[in-house]
Structures are given as structure tokens and as C-alpha cells.
């Protein structure tokens, strides 16, 4: 599990951008989506999630806004920008190429 986490870590940005490509979302929802999609194999820590959001926001890939929840804590929603969408496409292509390369080397 820990080795897998290390391998995945470099792709956290792309994973989050990928989720936001489908619409606005907030921290917990994104994390839950990752968990469900990976059959409970992978999950991000809150602190990692937060640093990733800030990094993407500073890079102009995403923007955030606070929700209007009546009860409990407010949620911070994220929305992908045009720059983020373009960056996601590039990263997706990069990953496809890398995957093919590694597959041809490790089998």
C-alpha cells in the first residue's frame, strides 16, 4: 500500500483535475470518489488534499468558493478553469505515453 501511494502521489493533481472535469466539487466528495473508484484501495489525507488544492489554485488551474450549507461546517467548492482543463489534457496524454512506456519495460 505504501509503495502504491508513493507511485500515485505524483499524479494527485491530475486525479483531482480529472474529477473536476465532471463538475464542481468539494474536498470530501472528491476523496470519497477516489475511494469508491479504487475499491477502498486508495484515499488522500486531508492535509495532502488541502495542499493540492492550494497548489492548483495558485497555478490558476482551479478556483474556489464557499457553499451555503445551513447546518454544520461550510464546504469549500472547487471549479476547474480553462487553463486547468488544458493542463489536464496535456497531463492525460503524458500519462498515456508513460504508461505505454513502462508497460513495454516492465512485464
Amino acid at each position: 500500500m505504501s509503495i502504491t501511494s508513493d507511485l500515485i502521489r505524483g499524479h494527485t493533481d491530475t486525479i483531482i483535475l480529472s474529477r473536476l472535469m465532471q463538475g464542481d466539487s468539494y474536498g470530501y466528495e472528491i476523496n470519497k470518489y477516489i475511494k469508491v473508484k479504487t475499491n477502498n484501495e486508495y484515499e488522500l489525507k486531508e492535509a495532502t488534499l488541502y495542499s493540492t488544492f492550494r497548489r492548483l489554485e495558485e497555478g490558476g488551474m482551479i478556483v474556489s468558493y464557499w457553499g451555503n450549507e445551513n447546518k454544520g461546517a461550510r464546504r469549500r467548492y472547487y471549479s476547474i478553469t480553462l487553463k486547468g482543463k488544458e493542463c489536464y489534457k496535456v497531463q492525460k496524454e503524458d500519462w498515456k505515453k508513460t504508461k505505454e512506456l513502462i508497460d513495454s519495460l516492465i512485464y
Binding site: G27, G72, A73
Partner: protein
């Protein structure tokens, strides 16, 4: 909101600087952990296990706090630098009559005005160099930010006008004294200058109070 989770997260941020950014980090993490907890409870897990699992997923908050404290360091640096600039400017104000006293001619006056202009320039430069805290736009704090930035801007203008009044007072004092040669009485101009400044400040405060009340 689960009070145990809130207490735990509060504890994590106990020693973090009380800045807006830190507050936002805390809010977001708290909201995520709470959502996680509620989901676990709904799936039939008992409270204790749910609490422990939700807490375990927070990760390294220390690093986050550390990263966001750097901005405060920047402000600290400005504070030190601005203290030095202010001290030099005030020193120049105090020393400005020296050329008049020693040279006893027009050059002395020109030099004096030059020094005063330099000192005023330094003070105005200083007030404009104050680092602005970069914040992310959001709905939650829009009002707060509006209020804060407007008062900051007003304060800056207030400071600038105040230093302009000081300079003008000094200039008027010397011009009047040299033209009329009434050195024995012309110092009154400084009192008038101070009075003008005070009236301006009171007027500013009244304007601010009115704005606050009308909100």
C-alpha cells in the same frame, strides 16, 4: 457537527497563528473530517471507530501551518524595514533647520526644503510599500475583505495627507518668516498646522462612524 471532532481539530490548530488563511484551512479540514465521520456512522460503524478513522485521515497539518506562516514572516520583515525608514525620515525633519542656521542664506532654505521633501517622500513611499495580504475571493468573507481593504485604503490616504500637512506647515513657516522677518511670532504656524491636522483626523473619524452606522 460532532463536538469531539471539532475539539480535536481546534486542538491541532491551537498554536497556529490566528490568520485568515489558517482559519480557512481549519474550516475546510473540519468540514471534510465531519463529512467523513457522518458517512462512516451512516454505514453502520460505531461512534468510536468512526471518530478514530476520521481523525486518522487528517494527516500532517503541521506542514500546512508552517507553509502558511511564511506570509506572516514577510509582514514582520516589512515592519522592521519601515521602522528604520520612519526613524531616518523623522531624523531628517529634526535636522532640517541646520543648513538655515549654519549657512544663513537662501541656499540654506533651499537645502531645508529639499530635506523636508526627501523625508516626506520617504514616509509616503513607506506607507505604499506595505505588503498586501493576498487572499482568495470567496463569498464567506467578501464583506469582511471589502470592509478591511476600504479602511486600509482610507488609512493610507489619511497618513499621506497628514504628512503633506506637516510639510506644508514647515514650508509656510519658513516662507512667512523669511518674507516678514517675524521669527518671534511665526512659530504659531506650527500650532495652526497641528490644529488643522487634528481637525482633519476628527473629520475622518466622523466619516467612518457614519459609514459604520449606516451599514
Amino acid at each position: 457537527m460532532n463536538s469531539r471532532i471539532k475539539k480535536y481539530v481546534d486542538e491541532l490548530f491551537k498554536y497556529a497563528p490566528k490568520s485568515r488563511k489558517i482559519f480557512e484551512i481549519k474550516e475546510e479540514i473540519l468540514s471534510n473530517v465531519n463529512d467523513n465521520y457522518n458517512d462512516l456512522i451512516e454505514s453502520g460503524i460505531d461512534e468510536n471507530t468512526a471518530y478514530n478513522r476520521a481523525i486518522a485521515n487528517i494527516g500532517d497539518v503541521e506542514e500546512l501551518i508552517q507553509k502558511n506562516t511564511d506570509i506572516l514572516g514577510q509582514q514582520e520583515e516589512y515592519r522592521k524595514k519601515s521602522g528604520i525608514i520612519n526613524a531616518i525620515a523623522i531624523g531628517l525633519y529634526i535636522l532640517c533647520p541646520v543648513p538655515v542656521i549654519t549657512l544663513q542664506n537662501e541656499f540654506g532654505v533651499i537645502l531645508l526644503l529639499g530635506i523636508v521633501a526627501l523625508a516626506t517622500g520617504m514616509m509616503i513611499y513607506n506607507s505604499h510599500m506595505k505588503p498586501k495580504v493576498i487572499t482568495i475571493d470567496d463569498d464567506l468573507y467578501d464583506e469582511f475583505i471589502d470592509w478591511k481593504s476600504s479602511t486600509n485604503e482610507e488609512r493610507r490616504v489619511k497618513r499621506d495627507i497628514s504628512s503633506i500637512i506637516t510639510t506644508l506647515t514647515t514650508i509656510i513657516y519658513f516662507v512667512v518668516s523669511f518674507i516678514f522677518g517675524n521669527w518671534h511670532i511665526s512659530w504659531v504656524i506650527f500650532l495652526i498646522g497641528g490644529l488643522v491636522k487634528k481637525i482633519y483626523f476628527i473629520w475622518c473619524d466622523m466619516k467612518e462612524d457614519n459609514k459604520y452606522e449606516s451599514k
